[in-house]
Symmetry: C2
Subunit: 201 residues, 2 copies
């Protein structure tokens, strides 16, 4: 089965277990090289080497190096979306401040887990042509948060959802990248900013 012709989508969908493992190994190898040696070190030969497969196999499933990055970014976005969905589901019926506190911690948790990878991938994303799938996932994430805000009568929930995500990520990401390890302290500093934004101090 061949996939769409978009330059960022996978080339062929693996059908046997063996090829699924190959694809997984390629993605994991690319991510590890990216984390440990930087974007420039992620060459197709290096990825194939590290994955223990040949370049030919790599190009059976990814039409280009960029497609590998795009897939990793899609995985990251999907996980972030799912994390936030879970947090928002857990929080229905609770107070707005409780909901926001939970959101803050979900985002922090997401960034702590694989901080280096997320960081590098986000910088890469800016240099890649925009990927519709990634945009969709981010849109879904915002929409879910907006729904929660609507239920609490927050005005302009769509805009507020975007602002709040930017606020939380904007504060959490550099702090964690800068070596901050007291996640509770960080969360307790972000909380009042979010509530301040919402005018609910």
């Amino acid at each position: 089965m061949t996939n769409s012709t978009s330059p960022l989508s996978p080339r062929k969908t693996p059908r046997q277990a063996r090829s699924k493992a190959t694809v997984h190994a390629i993605l994991e190898a690319a991510a590890r090289i990216l984390e440990t040696q930087g974007a420039d070190a992620v060459t197709t030969n290096a990825v194939a080497d590290r994955a223990g497969v040949s370049v030919g196999s790599l190009y059976q499933y990814f039409p280009s190096k960029e497609a590998i990055f795009a897939e990793l970014i899609r995985q990251m976005r999907a996980q972030m979306r799912d994390d936030i969905f879970r947090a928002m589901d857990f929080v229905v019926g609770k107070s707005l401040s409780f909901a926001m506190a939970r959101l803050v911690r979900a985002v922090i948790h997401h960034h702590v887990h694989r901080a280096h990878r997320a960081d590098a991938l986000e910088h890469l994303e800016a240099q890649l042509p925009p990927d519709p799938d990634s945009l969709t996932m981010m849109s879904q994430t915002r929409a879910r948060l907006a729904l929660c805000l609507t239920q609490h009568k927050v005005p302009q929930p769509e805009q507020a959802a975007g602002d709040i995500l930017n606020l939380i990520i904007g504060m959490a990401h550099p702090a964690l990248h800068g070596g901050e390890t007291d996640f509770d302290s960080l969360a307790r500093r972000i909380d009042p900013a979010v509530l301040g934004y919402l005018g609910r101090m």
Copy 2:
């Protein structure tokens, strides 16, 4: 005069007006290619071409492509520092909320002016070895803000300064990059978040 041996510092300091113009043309060409065609399009030959000089001249003043990026980043950091210094100077003796409002607008103004360039440079910076000069300038920026916060009895002013800058940049940057053009509206949404962080709503 030859400069330090650091891989990111310029190689030779221009002494005549003509070479100053050359250096300026190289930096401007690199920035324009970066903005319009992305990081991968910034090759030394392309930069030299666009600058109207030869590759040889380029390598007289920059030991590597990375050194060009590093210099552009330094310029950006210096301008941000100066913008914020001016804002903080203007605001001594005024109320904390007035000071923060001014800060918010200074950051927004800084990002509006050359949003594309700043964006691309920041993503590049993450992939370069850390540059001491840039770190120093960011440290100076934070310190100046911390001083202002100290005068308003804000506890932990150093940490708060970092948090507030991250908050403002984190909210402003994606919004502006996403095409937001109503800067006043944006500023008025960031203001309460900052005050919320400070516990001064």
